[in-house]
């Protein structure tokens, strides 16, 4: 895997990822993309599903691990499996639905039948196979390690990868914060999803997920719209000298990045008070205040996003109340799926407000970012202009702090998140060709 030469000479990965810049080929080269699907998506933990999507025994979901079609199942005993959705006979996918319940899957091509644990249980007219044919040799291929962290199901193809909790590392307490906003941690990922496709590389989304520099510019339309009724509210703080404010960006290690907007808020009810108005806000607020009195501020805050952006490398972005998944489709094409969430342990009206809240950003915020991703992909086509900068904050004295666990913290507009995660990218890409 060294055919990605430019100018006829072999370049090493280190030449493409420098301390303050990355090479354009990481975003436009099909061979590098193919290598990423094998190495980045093949050797670290990949988010596959949320348990609430397969809460019943024999539930299943189809999806992808990198570009590999997979089938995530819960068997009759409640155990989770991630299987390649690829018949062991002549490769057809065995399941073509997005989700449902099934004890077994019969391949529609020649009828081989697999249990939801992956075992091959039946082959039509078996006397056509010789005595050395053993069904146990032809179960569905499987993702060897599948683990759930409090409902978030991850899998890895790498038998040698560290445990999931070790991999989550410093991201784990932040994920706990997000989960624990729901009473009893009861998060439900069954509220439909915005599936947004853009013509650009998948890393443009990951770069953006920890980017506190862009909101004042890329989201100008949203900020202007929000000012129609007076105060801008939500997100306005990104526009007012954000580096002097209390927000920060962090590189958490293992590729994970984080933006904290919570320091903009102090008291219970502040999330709610600062939220841009959404359909039904006043009527449902009145109803919740009438019924829940002193507890209303806490409940109303739960209708608003978490005020964190937690990015778990390479494909899970926790943003607001949404669980966003990056699905690379091609070197220059990506689907971002924004799964909306509801929570247990709150009055119905809180979840109704959550739905209206979670429609806002996919409609009026994200499309402008994706337009910018697409225009960045167009700009990246210029071969003479080789570099993508990630140097903001780099080499500026006293701007970054590194704690004992190696977590790097800086002002929210710094690009330290990119400088950090590309080191993890580099580690994974070197596994095959050190």
């Amino acid at each position: 895997m060294s055919a990605f030469a430019t100018n006829g000479s072999r370049r090493r990965w280190e030449d493409l990822v420098r301390v303050d810049r990355v090479h354009r080929s990481l975003y436009v080269d099909e061979e590098i993309f193919a290598a990423e699907m094998r190495l980045v998506f093949g050797h670290t933990w990949i988010y596959l599903a949320h348990e609430s999507q397969l809460s019943e025994p024999n539930g299943f979901l189809t999806g992808h691990l990198g570009r590999r079609p997979i089938l995530v199942t819960r068997d009759g005993e409640g155990r989770l499996h991630a299987l390649f959705n690829r018949c062991t006979h002549r490769a057809a996918t065995v399941c073509r639905e997005e989700s449902g319940r099934a004890r077994s899957f019969q391949c529609p091509y020649h009828g081989w039948t697999f249990r939801n644990t992956g075992e091959l249980v039946g082959v039509p007219w078996p006397d056509g196979y010789g005595p050395d044919f053993r069904r146990e040799d032809f179960g569905l291929g499987r993702v060897p390690r599948v683990e759930s962290y409090r409902g978030f199901v991850f899998g890895t193809l790498d038998e040698a990868a560290p445990s999931l909790t070790e991999h989550l590392g410093a991201a784990r307490p932040l994920l706990d914060y997000w989960i624990d906003r729901a009473p009893d941690g009861d998060v439900r990922v069954r509220s439909a999803a915005h599936r947004m496709v853009y013509r650009g590389n998948w890393k443009l989304a990951y770069d953006n997920a920890g980017d506190g520099y862009h909101p004042a510019f890329s989201h100008r339309s949203l900020l202007k719209m929000a000012a129609r009724l007076g105060e801008t509210r939500d997100m306005a703080y990104f526009g007012r000298s954000p580096d002097q404010g209390p927000m920060y960006v962090q590189y958490l290690g293992n590729g994970h990045t984080f933006i904290d907007q919570r320091p903009n808020y102090a008291a219970a009810g502040d999330f709610w008070r600062n939220q841009r108005v959404q359909p039904g806000r006043e009527g449902l607020e009145r109803l919740i205040r009438d019924r829940h009195g002193a507890d209303a501020d806490r409940l109303l805050d739960l209708a608003v996003g978490s005020q964190i952006n937690l990015n778990i490398f390479p494909n899970l972005l926790i943003i607001g109340n949404q669980v966003q998944v990056i699905e690379p489709l091609a070197v220059d094409r990506t689907q971002l799926t924004w799964h909306a969430t509801a929570i247990g342990g709150v009055p119905d009206e809180v979840n109704v407000l959550r739905m209206r809240t979670q429609e806002d950003f996919p409609a009026f915020g994200e499309p402008d970012d994706q337009a910018n991703f697409e225009e960045a992909q167009r700009g990246l086509s210029v071969p003479e202009m080789e570099w993508v900068l990630m140097n903001r904050g780099h080499g500026v004295p006293d701007r970054q702090k590194v704690d004992a666990d190696g977590v790097v913290t800086g002002p929210v507009t710094d690009e330290l998140h990119m400088r950090g995660y590309f080191q993890e990218w580099l580690r994974l890409m070197r596994l095959e060709d050190p």
Partner: protein, 196 residues
């Protein structure tokens, strides 16, 4: 703040309450009912309104388009085919009068980069059926649409059906509900920022 000001639904949203959702669910559940064939005059009057709406959208005359809608209107583009349950599911658009006003304002800010350049659209509306319900002061309309969009060098087409609920006001018929049902609503879409 006086109660009178709270009735301006471009600024306040007191009315989108549990009863509003119940009424919506009842309407959304009845789009597939059998309707009697409408007489020619009723059909022509209804088509004229749909055509006028189509022209305002295709000509990007969004402020005029907004005036076709009632103060308690809903412009709804569900994700779940058929509509699903908007109290428990998100939609592509679930716009009360205030959010619809915001949407038009947003499109006209000049800095919505996803609409620079702006979408050019033309829409074909066919298979129009209408039921007149004078006792409820409303007409329900269903139709098929095919919208062709051109933007940033790309042609895209969107196909589906509309459900309109019209109510009679002093100025004439206005739109209380527009439910836009894309045949691929729950699938991946690029830059879904045009107005259907």
């Amino acid at each position: 703040m006086t109660q009178a000001e709270h009735t301006d639904t471009a600024a306040w949203s007191y009315h989108v309450d549990p009863a509003y959702y119940r009424e919506l669910a009842a309407i959304a559940g009845e789009w597939s009912d059998a309707w009697p064939v409408a007489d020619a005059e009723l059909l022509a009057e209804t088509q004229a309104l749909l055509h006028r709406e189509a022209r305002l959208l295709d000509e990007a005359r969004f402020n005029e388009w907004l005036e076709l809608y009632t103060p308690t209107c809903l412009y709804w583009v569900p994700i779940t085919p058929g509509g699903g349950d908007p109290e428990r599911e998100v939609s592509h658009a679930f716009d009360d009068r205030r959010r619809l006003t915001d949407r038009v304002y947003w499109l006209r800010t000049g800095v919505a980069f996803c609409q620079i350049p702006q979408s050019r659209t033309r829409r074909l509306i066919t298979n129009v059926e209408v039921i007149d319900e004078p006792a409820e002061n409303r007409r329900r309309v269903r139709s098929n649409f095919h919208i062709q969009e051109f933007r940033a060098g790309q042609h895209k087409s969107y196909v589906g059906w509309y459900g309109h609920v019209l109510v009679r006001e002093q100025q004439g018929w206005r739109i209380q509900l527009k439910q836009v049902n894309l045949i691929d609503s729950e699938h991946g879409h690029e830059n879904l920022t045009l107005v259907f």
